[in-house]
Symmetry: C2
Subunit: 590 residues, 2 copies
């Protein structure tokens, strides 16, 4: 133990200076080493930021990114999604992830960039809710595969109404963040699908559609059951996407047998190992697609001074008034005029000139002008009925409720909070409660319909739940911790831009406006829960007291018999009638 | 309250479908919207990732990035650093941060890129410990200033031995991640400095040097005292950089007076408001610079298969053997030969060919080969004596100790963990302990000599401290929480690449190897603390028992007097001798 650590003395002497210290730099020598860093180099070194810091998490992240893309593509194209997720172990620490969808397919020229270039996509620049937003995810998964196995990302895709499909193998040149195409073939759709299946992957029913995309990535990974597993991810996906049919196959190599010396003859190397296979299909509950959200313009109250200046410089409008009315949401021509007047600016002024000289007064005038909240059709919340239905389908409980709040805004981005709640097994709990052994509630976190499984501690959702005083609603809650009890709580944030705490998109950043909305939704659900719990408590209390009184009815009747000289028949009648009365009245006994 | 939330019904009906839903997309229409995302656009939208999510944190982050750069530059140039940090409030929610150093200065051509281009720098591509590593920080601070105020980053810099200094104002074109130069002048050094001072900023003593850099950024910000303030940052900087002299000035506008109706005459608008000014100088404790760390090659055991293939493709060596020996650390010519033999490869093979065909067997052979741990001179730990000195200077305590572990490796990156500890005020504590009101210990986190003030919950350091069983070392510790007691604990991670959990560099990612080293260092410090605490406890116990016995000595003497018929003088003598005996023996009474 002491080998590595310093001697017992409280402070060892300073380390000896080494003899050959590197030469001191000058401004010139330092300048010669300055260079640009490709974003792919950056994330290769920082791959934990993308969710690839452990082999276990890498597997989940890869599946998540591929499924997000598939769902987004299907929904944008108005196709009811059917997705096959295949996770196949091909060596002790190596897996192949194949995700196949019935989406619109991808135009060939875009395939290399979408799958092998970081920061490339169609979702970043628009204000509209979608699962993907950064243009990093799937390329990062491919880059991780390439880094750990040297293998390429393989894509098979067919666009609707196209004659042929395309099969490509791509890698990312990490020094330049550019795609490298290793192979590129025009192929027939069905045979190509069969070829994918021949690699062992399950592609579900997607082949029956005449369009879609299949992506396969080989990577160093590890599979482990539990709360942060691919199993849990696809299950939660099905809860918040009731229009999704998802086929999931997990194929694991047999576990290495304990090292027993076997006779030589039994070592039959030729037989391939029998895979341990798990299959589950989540069939859609409804065929209706969620409403396709609409793209919006930025809301003026969320635009900072510097950004306002940039927008005025870039506008295509000729006058300040029309720039305000055309480039922002919730600014009518009339409101634009008001803003100009309040700022003391000419509505016909050149926006570019305003950007340089009078932006600050314009900025202040905008802040002082009352505006409608941003339009809400850029969001597609799950809906209260759908949340309750999802919970009922998945979780056995005695009480369900859900709240979908009206949209709010943080930094100009509309967002909407939804909370669902399922409370179960009150009897068993009572005992656990008494024994101080209650478990923390189960908290399910979602952002734009994507389950968040990692980093609960860093997430605004967890923070909001901990911040609510659950004791007021009848639950126990240790200080600074999740409440206790047989409760499943789900919180969903829908937004045109979810502020994740890292590129791996596992936790929502704690913007005040977001926390406030979550708190209000949680409190509303809490109140409803408390009404239910109070009623149940009163009912149980009443039942307890009634059964207590019932116990005494025979004695009461006996007493009456003695005092009033009742016959046995009269006594029995009194007893019966007392019981009836008690049952009918249901008086508040407490 | 009900206005925003759904009706009391447990689940409201699904939202009505809107009539005008956006048109469904096709593969072709989606392709037309795909585009590249500039890394600056990405971080502008995700500025919370860079530490600019609140005005308060923004202020700290800007100071931190500028100071990191100044310290790195001074040390690389072998200049004992003297830095002035000036934080000046210029409007209610607007500050100007000016950081001035006596560093080597920056070559003019590099200034725009260093201060107005993300992912540009000299530290990313080398394996050597430094504060900055990403090439993002200072440009991000400027970008945030630009976004919130529209102002440019102003830089004044003079290179050693150059005739003139350069004064530049730069902004970042966020759509292309390229610098825009707004003004660019050749100026005289001293007058230019005076000009900076005339803006109200304190530039410390830096002007007396004939070289250095001063950077000023205006931004929306907020100042608040406390654990996450600039005050705390500069103080902790001084602790871990004993060779640094740092002048800190904070100038705040007077707080708006409570709105009392004053007589008209008193409203003297012409007089400028009196600034509330705080100044503190941390003077260096030692003139010796830390050893300049040396750049190293990657260690073979930390190189993944995909990266190995890339390195073999890129090598300038002609043979596999020489590629192994020249491009990796700790691979001698002899070891390279061994690896080739183990992999069954010809040492004279063309590395590029091996990259494509035999990389896997080479990879396996490398893993199986025992290698020396990476060289340690790429790191510059603080040192045990220096840590203890730093703690003693700053924190009054009864017991100090520090452990600097030997370097270890995670993912091929050498790193080194240091832990320091100061334990104080035992008497007062005892009472608090009895009353169950002990406070959690104070944990100071550092990475490459930079204090980490945000996101303690996400940090491996916090995780490691919580994971240690402090009860075994004599402290109370609630389950899953920091231990309690009058203890200041500092943990420093030095590494050629600190794996931060986000670009804001506030928390260290939880790699297993890092957690293990932290745990060992903490345990060693814990053991030393426990020796101290046990001794103190025994001493106190002995003292308590002795005073108890002392109480009875007069009675004992009186008894002896009665029984043995002692005179008063004899009684006094016995009393005295009993006391002497007690004092001399110091026997273990317990």
């Amino acid at each position: 133990m002491k080998k590595k650590s310093a001697p017992q003395a409280d402070a060892a002497p300073a380390p000896k200076p080494r003899k050959k210290t590197p030469r001191a730099e000058t401004a010139e020598s330092m300048a010669s080493r300055q260079r640009e860093i490709a974003v792919s180099e950056f994330f290769l070194k920082n791959r934990h930021l993308l969710g690839f810091d452990s082999p276990r998490r890498a597997l989940l992240t890869a599946v998540k990114e591929a499924v997000d893309n598939s769902l987004d593509a299907c929904e944008e194209a108005g196709i009811v999604p059917e997705i096959a997720v295949d996770v196949q172990q091909i060596a002790e620490s190596r897996f192949r992830v194949t995700v196949t969808d019935n989406g619109p397919g991808i135009v060939k020229a875009q395939i290399p960039k979408i799958f092998a270039k970081l920061l490339y996509g169609s979702k970043f620049h628009r204000l509209r809710m979608s699962r993907g937003q950064q243009g990093i995810g799937i390329s990062a998964a491919g880059m991780y595969g390439q880094l750990t196995t040297g293998a390429a990302t393989r894509i098979l895709s067919k666009v609707k109404n196209a004659k042929a499909a395309h099969s490509l193998a791509v890698q990312i040149d990490t020094k330049s963040n550019k795609p490298v195409i290793l192979s590129d073939e025009e192929v027939d759709w069905r045979p190509a699908f069969q070829a994918v299946e021949e690699t062992g992957a399950s592609v579900g029913e997607a082949a029956v559609y005449a369009h879609g995309t299949s992506v396969a990535i080989e990577m160093e990974a590890q599979y482990q059951r539990g709360k942060q597993s691919v199993d849990e991810f696809v299950k939660q996906c099905a809860i918040v996407n009731p229009h999704l049919t998802l086929h999931y196959r997990l194929a694991l190599l047999p576990k290495p047998e304990p090292r027993v010396q076997k006779p030589e003859a039994e070592k039959t190397e030729s037989r391939p190992p029998q895979m341990e296979e798990h299959r589950v299909s989540y069939v859609r509950a409804l065929k209706d697609m969620p409403v396709i959200p609409r793209e919006i313009m930025p809301h003026p109250h969320g635009v900072e001074l510097g950004l306002l200046m940039q927008m005025l410089k870039d506008t295509e409008a000729r006058t300040l008034r029309s720039a305000l009315a055309s480039d922002f949401s919730r600014v009518s021509d009339q409101t634009a005029l008001q803003i100009c007047e309040r700022a003391g600016l000419n509505p016909k002024a050149n926006p570019t000139r305003v950007a340089h000289q009078e932006a600050e007064s314009l900025y202040r005038a905008i802040q002082e002008t009352k505006l409608m909240r941003p339009p809400t059709d850029c969001l597609s919340p799950i809906g209260e009925a759908q949340i309750v239905a999802g919970l009922q389908k998945e979780i056995k409980a005695d009480f369900y409720t859900a709240v979908t709040r009206e949209p709010e805004v943080y930094r100009g981005n509309p967002f909407q909070i939804e909370v669902g709640l399922a409370y179960a097994r009150p009897e068993e709990t009572k005992a656990a409660e008494d024994m101080g052994q209650e478990e923390p509630i189960r908290l399910l976190r979602f952002a734009n319909r994507v389950p968040l499984l990692y980093q609960p501690g860093a997430c605004a959702i967890t923070k909001a739940v901990i911040g609510v005083n659950w004791k007021a609603y009848g639950l126990n809650q240790p200080k600074g911790a999740l409440p206790l009890g047989p409760l499943v709580l789900m919180v969903h944030m829908a937004s045109v831009w979810v502020p994740f705490t890292s590129e791996s998109k596992d936790a929502v950043a704690s913007y005040e406006e977001i926390l406030a909305e979550m708190t209000l939704a949680l409190q509303e659900c809490g109140r409803r829960l408390s009404v239910f719990l109070n009623k149940r408590r009163r009912d149980m209390e009443a039942a307890r007291k009634r059964s207590y009184i019932e116990l005494y009815i025979p004695h009461l009747a006996l007493g009456l018999k003695d005092i009033l000289g009742f016959s046995d028949t009269e006594k029995a009648r009194v007893e019966r009638e007392l019981k009836n009365m008690l049952e009918k009245t249901h008086v508040e006994v407490g």
